[in-house]
Amino acid sequence: MSQPLPQAQPTPADDPLARVTQGEYQWGFVTPIESEVAPKGLSEDVVRFISAKKNEPAWLLEWRLKAYRAWLSMREPTWAKVSYPRIDYQAMSYWAAPKSAASRPKSLDEVDPELLKTYEKLGIPLQERAALAGVAVDAVFDSVSVATTFKDKLASLGILFCSFSEAVREHGDLVQRWLGSVVPQGDNFFAALNSAVFSEGSFVYVPRGVRCPMELSTYFRINAAETGQFERTLIIADEGASVSYLEGCTAPKRDENQLHAAVVELVALDDATIKYSTVQNWYPGDREGRGGIYNFVTKRGACRGRRSKISWTQVETGSSITWKYPSCLLLGDDSVGEFYSVAVANHRQQADTGTKMVHVGKRTKSTIVSKGISAGRGQNTYRGLVKVMPGAEGARNHSQCDSLLLGDRCGAHTFPYLEARNPTAQVEHEASTSKISEDQLFYLRQRGISAEDSVSMIVNGFCKDVLRELPMEFAVEARKLLGVTLEGSVG
């Protein structure tokens, strides 16, 4: 997948807003670990190869093959406001595992030191941070999970937190019961692709009445060249359970594009709460739009139970293309869905992101807060659907979509769709688009604050309503990331 995009014009040096956009990607290193890679291309044989590699039960192979067949009959969606060269699905490899995977590490001590160094470069000193912050980290390196910490403590509460492969082996009944229950194999083109070839991911089950005492965290990282990463995450909160899950992503710098098509499914039963937070920092490509991750992700949560609640918070600063709509199916009466999003499109990045809130149960309630930031030649689109079904008596939604433009060559677009089929529904939508104002910048600079810090401050202020939804530790990172991402946009 090469990326023949037109050249960017040189940025006028005297444009103060132009400089923020010159920050370089800081996480662009490649870890020299030998990978075992499947032959390029996708076929039933490749699906069988992956399933066999993972020693999967027959039902899962059948499940994958069903997805593969569905995928064959589907077309890549074109409705998103993004443009990219045609992806050749036969030109990439669908399986890569570090070679040392033959003897899978059982603890951090057994983890390849090169891998641990990678995590350190990412600013994730696994052991210290996990211990200090009380975070249980399930780190995914390419396709094989390398370390799971705090598992014993969680296990004593009956909480299952493990890699997807382990879940298939150890908790096959739970996986079989819930896999595809929220995002079926044939849901959409990318979800079908994921369902056929997914290799790794995370699995969480919180039993009845248990509140998970720590934030669960997974860092994903794409390392091997020309491999897509297809993780699969499944989180189930049983009746009265609650859990907060954090996901961070980074990928090394390469000239080719890489595909990332993940699926995340959340299930909340009666009175259960799931909070899912993402800081997505995949490689965004360079200033001219060369390279970068294609992030085509399907995330959906089902509030199956009464009074259940699912809350998505995302800070999307990376990827060259983002196609992502974390959604909530509000099935249970009085269930609650939330979507808080910050999306940044800088240089040549394109983001088409938003949410779907489907109100089925009575008195269901949803909140959408979307903050889009466009800089350089970035294009940022909010696309949202609020759908109130006939039986959703007394449903309520409030949507707030704000766009901030840095410079005059970027774009912000808002597509809010609304379908209310119940006359008692109350749906509100507010939207605003503003340019970062010279007045604000000058005001901060006149007080002695540097131009870059001023931009960072204004952007953070703009995103405040979303950032405060993030767990404390993550919020600090997200703030830094926003600053770094937009570094050089202003002078």
Binding site: P16, L444, R445, Q446, R447, G448, S450, A451
Partner: protein, 268 residues
């Protein structure tokens, strides 16, 4: 430090506004600048602070011997120049205290001083806020100028001035829109900074401010130049007679002002 403005010329959108302005402000002095609308008062303030779009086409400005015009706005601020804005801008989502502490620490860092931690900062800011009869909410619960009334915004400007302790303060119509009580509070803040070393350029339309912040020198700006310079009496005279002496357009602003200049300071 002395501010030396020589034959300053500046334009906005290609239109000349300042046309050869010369002014010296020595340490400890308070200079009032009055003049009709459009005479270039606010332009002078923005040119000194380094705002984009205010293009200097001639002359020079030295601040303590340094070429002020060569510095970026934040560098000028760190060198001790403070502009109290006529229309302070709102910055949503940024806590007033967070902003002000960031500004103070940026300036301290420039001077090679240690950063002020959150506790010490709050103690300092509270003390200054009390002087201006502002309560803690302005610091802790409010975002920068967001939803402030006109008067609150002006007080917030003076609060920033008191915390940052600038060596040269330029007040751009800080009195506009203030009632007499608010005016007294603001003047008290400014006067608290007068220590014989810090200097002030006070831009105003109204003599009543000068009853409270007593200037050493009063200038009348017209047609982009200093048209007259005098002592306090000049402001009183202007209040009685207006700017009629300047002629209809202020073009008569070339009238020699030397006779009105008090010894030792003011325009030349």
């Amino acid at each position: 430090m002395t501010l030396s403005i020589r034959d300053l010329e500046a334009q906005v959108d290609g239109k000349p506004i300042l046309r050869g302005l010369t002014l010296d402000v020595r340490p400890g002095e308070v200079h009032a600048i009055m003049g009709p609308n459009g005479s270039g008062k606010s332009t002078l303030a923005y040119v000194l602070a380094g705002r984009d779009g205010y293009e200097v086409t001639g002359g020079s400005v030295a601040w303590g011997g340094k070429d002020l015009l060569a510095l970026a706005p934040e560098e000028r601020a760190r060198e001790g120049l403070f502009l109290a804005f006529q229309y302070p801008v709102e910055i949503p989502g940024i806590n007033n205290a967070t902003f002000l502490r960031a500004a103070l620490n940026a300036q301290r860092k420039h001077r090679g001083e240690a950063e002020v931690d959150a506790m010490d900062f709050m103690a300092l800011a509270r003390e200054k806020a009390r002087l201006l009869e502002m309560d803690d909410r302005f610091l802790l619960q409010r975002n920068v100028n967001e939803g402030f009334s006109g008067g609150e915004k002006k007080r917030n400007e003076v609060l920033q001035m008191l915390v940052l302790q600038p060596r040269l303060s330029v007040l751009d119509e800080t009195d506009s829109g203030l009632d007499i009580d608010a005016l007294r509070v603001v003047a008290r803040g400014v006067n608290a900074l007068r220590d014989g070393v810090r200097s002030f350029v006070v831009i105003t339309h109204y003599q009543r401010l000068l009853d409270l912040i007593v200037p050493d020198v009063v200038h009348v700006l017209a047609g982009g130049r200093i048209a007259r310079t005098g002592g306090r009496d000049l402001a009183l005279e202007l209040e009685k007679q207006g700017y009629a002496f300047l002629g209809a357009t202020g073009a008569a602003a070339t009238a020699p002002a030397a006779s009105a200049r008090p010894g030792g300071s003011g325009a030349r």
